[in-house]
């Protein structure tokens, strides 16, 4: 290693250390704190990774990383926003075996506002070779999925080890699909589990449910699987997603109308309206991660309306897609009245942002 490399290494380590110190500062404006466990015991030296997105196959580096102390505790300062927390630890067991412990916070995502929010402690699990909990071939459960008395094929059964998530979202430990006769079977380590089954009309494994999809938690939740036991469940019946409830939830969601509104036009560089572009509002000036509000896509006239839940300072951007990295062919732009794309909004008012100019990115 030459002197130049040593210098770079020194600088890098120094910056990393400063970053970690900053991230761990108890004086931060907002943040998260909690405790990692393994088999219900505090887990020291575990890595706590903070992400801005929920995808299982994250293609980006964590937003922040901290390490648990001897009591398994951690604290990280974060700007306001929504975060996904994952715990990891690679360690060598007494018999010389290397194992990976890992789990997502069952309550993901976590909102950070002012002050430090406490995350319920959760257990990390040993991961198998395929990234799944280590299963015991002699232990597990099986059952049949039905709807209105008929077997449901290709439904997904999700096995949750924690219930804080409300049995939704990606924090399940395992998933298995029913066969043509609606039957499913899965090997699991001994433990307590909560099950939910869903069948989406498009056949997908994940995503928001829509009218026509089937969904239900297992009526016998939680189930306890003992070592060496193949537990046979009672009938696992699904129910259809109600269209009216779905519509109401949509109305209550990110598109819900309020009395605080930003509006304007999305235009290209030639002042022509651009359709199919979403306008986003962020609370964080970096404008990364999940926005707090978004508009429906612009129509042919390029008009947008962005409803906000409250007054305050928002940072405004526009994109023809949401989530994931920018891809060629996308329209992208920002509200540029202020260099940092900021707009101050008073609750109960309507504010004309004029035009947001977007460019096609190739």
């Amino acid at each position: 290693m030459n002197s130049k490399m040593i210098k770079y290494l020194y600088i890098t380590l120094t910056l990393l250390s400063l970053g970690l110190l900053c991230a761990c500062s108890p004086n931060g404006e907002g943040g998260l704190s909690g405790q990692m466990l393994f088999q219900d015991q505090p887990l020291a030296s575990a890595q706590v990774e903070i992400y801005l997105k929920a995808d299982k196959d994250r293609s980006v580096q964590p937003f922040a990383v901290v390490v648990t102390d001897v009591a398994g505790r951690y604290q990280v300062s974060l700007p306001q926003g929504s975060y996904f927390v994952i715990g990891k630890k690679r360690e060598t067991t007494d018999d010389g075996r290397t194992r990976m412990l890992m789990a997502e916070s069952p309550a993901n995502p976590h909102q950070v506002a002012k002050g430090v929010s406490s995350i319920p402690s959760f257990n990390l699990h040993e991961m198998g070779r395929e990234g799944l909990p280590m299963a015991d071939a002699a232990t597990g459960l099986s059952g049949q999925i039905t709807y209105q008395g008929e077997p449901v094929s290709r439904a997904f059964v999700y096995i949750y080890t924690e219930t804080d998530s409300g049995l939704v979202g990606p924090s399940y430990g395992e998933a298995v699909q029913s066969d043509k006769s609606g039957y499913f079977s899965i090997d699991l380590p001994a433990g307590r589990y909560s099950l939910v089954a869903r069948k989406r009309v498009d056949g997908s494994r994940s995503g928001a449910l829509s009218p026509g999809d089937l969904n239900a938690p297992y009526s016998g939740n939680p189930v306890k699987v003992r070592r060496g036991e193949r537990l046979s469940l009672a009938e696992f019946s699904l129910a259809g997603v109600d269209a009216e409830i779905y519509a109401q939830r949509q109305a209550d969601g990110v598109f819900a109308k309020t009395d605080t509104r930003l509006f304007g036009l999305v235009l290209d560089a030639e002042d022509q309206p651009v359709s199919d572009v979403y306008v986003f509002a962020y609370l964080d000036s970096r404008m990364v991660g999940k926005p707090v509000h978004m508009s429906v896509p612009t129509g042919e006239d390029g008009k947008f309306a962005l409803y906000l839940s409250d007054g305050g300072t928002y940072y405004i951007g526009a994109r023809s897609a949401f989530g994931g990295p920018l891809e060629p062919g996308e329209w992208v732009g920002t509200f540029d009245d202020q260099p940092d794309h900021r707009v101050a909004v008073t609750r109960g008012t309507e504010t004309d942002l004029g035009s947001i100019i977007v460019k096609e990115f190739w």
Binding site: S59, R154, V201, P325
Partner: protein, 396 residues
């Protein structure tokens, strides 16, 4: 317009359909008009009979099960196109026309068979993503306003025997995709025939024909494909190697272009065993300097990313400077073992390996260029040894 179309269809006895979920095997025949989305559920087969004409107005067809369509026209106004979600090879579209959509056909995963289709007048003709596989063969991509064929997101779909003509921006765009095969395709009169862009996009592109495009092939943003045994003829620019891209270019016939090969912004391709014939200028270096790359390259890319990326620096999939780093930069671009035609070779014999060929524009013709007030030396081309005879075969 929409109202007129509706009335016309009624006059001709066509019944408009409303929102539709296809939950059992279904056959469509004749002319159909849909104003709302149609969803074909998983394990369900939608068959569209030959000769059918399917219109969509402000809607789209989404297939999670299986679609069988031969000799069908899919069209509409302000419509979203066809979406195949995870369809396997039992989905077959052949001899169909898909036109006028925002994305004519979007393949989200799976491996459907797509044969002899025509995509015309769409914004994007065909987009394959989500690790799509399978094969696109003998399709035509004509007059699409953005991209004829967009292959992205780790898809490996083979592209064979397709025709790309007059697509306004790109005939085909390979972005983070590795088509298993990419050959026997023809690119004619496109703004850019084929673009291969971004680090990690390293396909083998062989035995294709590119004629009368503004740019035949553009390799951009640290892509490193293999460009082999292609014919690039009569284009404004044959091959444009841009922004730290290092393709392997071999066995190609590059002829009668205004500029055969344009190398720009810190690109160091391997150019070996090609024929450069009757180009106005065979090879040109532009803003190409190993010194600029050393002093300004990384900084310029940071600036570009933060200026052009979504909102505030969260840009395209990350590429480290280490990923981009050229294996060797010594102020020279090596272009050896190539055939420069009878006239060109005679000139090389006359001037020798250190001379300044008239058909190459490099640091011997233009010593420096200016970037933000500072002067940088333009790289030079090493062209010796050269081939004494043609290395490619003349193809029809």
């Amino acid at each position: 317009m929409r109202r007129c179309l509706f009335i016309l269809l009624l006059l001709f006895g066509v019944q408009p359909a409303s929102a539709l979920v296809v939950d059992q095997d279904t056959l469509w025949t004749g002319e159909r008009f849909f104003t709302e989305d149609v969803r074909v559920l998983s394990e369900v087969t939608l068959t569209v009979a030959p000769g059918s004409v399917i219109h969509f107005s402000g809607s789209r067809l989404e297939v999670s099960g299986r679609l069988l369509a031969r000799d069908v026209e899919f069209s509409g106004e302000n419509w979203g196109g066809l979406l195949l979600k995870g369809n396997d090879a039992t989905t077959l579209l052949s001899d169909c026309v898909i036109n006028g959509a925002s994305t004519g056909l979007l393949v989200q995963g799976g491996a459907p068979r797509l044969e002899r289709l025509t995509f015309s007048g769409n914004k994007v003709g065909l987009e394959l993503r989500g690790k799509a596989a399978g094969k696109v063969s003998n399709c035509r991509f004509i007059d699409n306003s953005k991209v004829g064929l967009f292959l992205k997101d780790d898809s490996t779909t083979s592209v064979v025997g397709c025709w790309f003509e007059n697509n306004h921006r790109y005939g085909a765009y390979l972005y983070h995709a590795q088509p298993k095969e990419f050959y026997d395709n023809v690119f004619v009169k496109n703004a850019t025939g084929l673009i291969i862009a971004y680090h990690g996009t390293d396909p083998v592109v062989s035995n294709n024909r590119f004629e009368a495009n503004e740019i035949a092939i553009q390799v951009d943003r640290a892509a490193r494909p293999v460009i082999r045994d292609n014919l690039l003829r009569g284009n404004q620019t044959g091959l444009y190697v841009y922004r730290r891209s290092d393709p392997l270019v071999t066995g190609n016939r590059i002829e009668e272009n205004r500029v055969g090969l344009l190398v720009a912004y810190s690109s160091y391709p391997q150019i070996e065993g090609n024929d450069f014939l009757a180009n106005e200028l065979a090879l040109k270096l532009e803003f190409q300097s190993s010194l600029w790359e050393t002093e300004r390259g990384a900084e310029a890319r940071i600036g570009e990313t933060s200026a052009r990326s979504a909102f505030a620096g969260q840009g395209m999939r990350s590429v480290t400077e280490d990923d981009r780093r050229a294996k060797g930069m010594a102020g020279a671009v090596k272009v050896v073992g190539n055939w420069w035609g009878d006239v060109g070779t005679a000139e090389l014999v006359k001037i020798g390996p250190t001379g300044n060929p008239s058909f190459i524009h490099d640091g011997k013709d233009q010593a420096t260029f200016v970037d933000v007030g500072e002067t940088f030396p333009l790289d030079k081309v090493i062209f010796a040894p050269w081939s004494e005879s043609a290395v490619t075969e003349v193809k029809p």
